[in-house]
Amino acid sequence: MRLEYFQMVDKVLALDLEARTLKTANIVPDQSPIFEGHFPGHPLLPGVLLFEIMAQTCGMLLLRLHNYDRMAFLASVDKGKLRTFVTPGQTIEVHAEMVHDGSGFARLKAAGQIEGKLVCNAEVTLKTMPFPAPELRGYLLQTAERIGMPMGAPADVGSAAPASAGNLTNV
């Protein structure tokens, strides 16, 4: 996780294209300027960033389902709950599930766990639209490769180790 660059998702743990679910690992860094203010002597990952982690996992799932032909933007977070403190060095596993893929928007559910304990959950609405800039699509494809997003057809994508990211770097 590189907080200052809003790179929240570190690794894909499982992708199920048929069930439309994605599970990611997100490691809170040991050190960050954010912890100097939030809070002195009691460093906590800000709650808004927990929502961002869930939103980005939802977004990565949506982009993958749409084969990176559209960008997703956060539109709303409903029924959001922050259940416990999250501190430097912890790993948050986020599970995202598509609830409804509409026309120009999508509704997903997301939940974060640390060592099996639920720490946050929310319903996330994303607006989708064509990529407003080609470099943004390239950046997202690089991100997909960085986090090990399986890029094969549904039959090739299991819940085991991610497959090769294919020719992403050529896009």
């Binding site: 709303s76 409804h100 509409g102 026309s103 120009g104 928007f105 509704r107 607006k127």
Partner: protein, 93 residues
């Protein structure tokens, strides 16, 4: 149409906290009921789920923006319900 309207009106009332009696078939979702685009996403989500369809919101918006359609065609509730009925009929055809 009447059943469709009742369902849609109830969805709008619940989603946007608008008194049910203020919602009529002649109501314009945007101009009369003051529903903004983000609230309409919630309504579209509920309509999609209730009727098992997918409102083509994106193409409607594009048509309106390009001047090929008016907002009344899609956002006056009786017209919205007619579009929904068409989508339901197309699904079952």
């Amino acid at each position: 149409m009447s059943t469709t309207f009742e369902t849609v009106a109830n969805i709008i009332a619940e989603t946007c906290d608008i008194p049910r009696e203020n919602i009529t078939p002649e109501s314009h979702a945007i101009d009369d009921l003051g529903i903004d685009s983000l609230d309409f996403l919630d309504i579209a989500f509920a309509i999609d789920k209730a009727f098992g369809i997918k409102l083509p919101l994106e193409s409607w918006t594009q048509e309106v923006n390009e001047g090929k359609a008016t907002t009344e065609q899609y956002f006056v509730l009786k017209n919205l319900c007619a579009r929904i009925d068409e989508l339901i009929a197309a699904k079952t055809a």
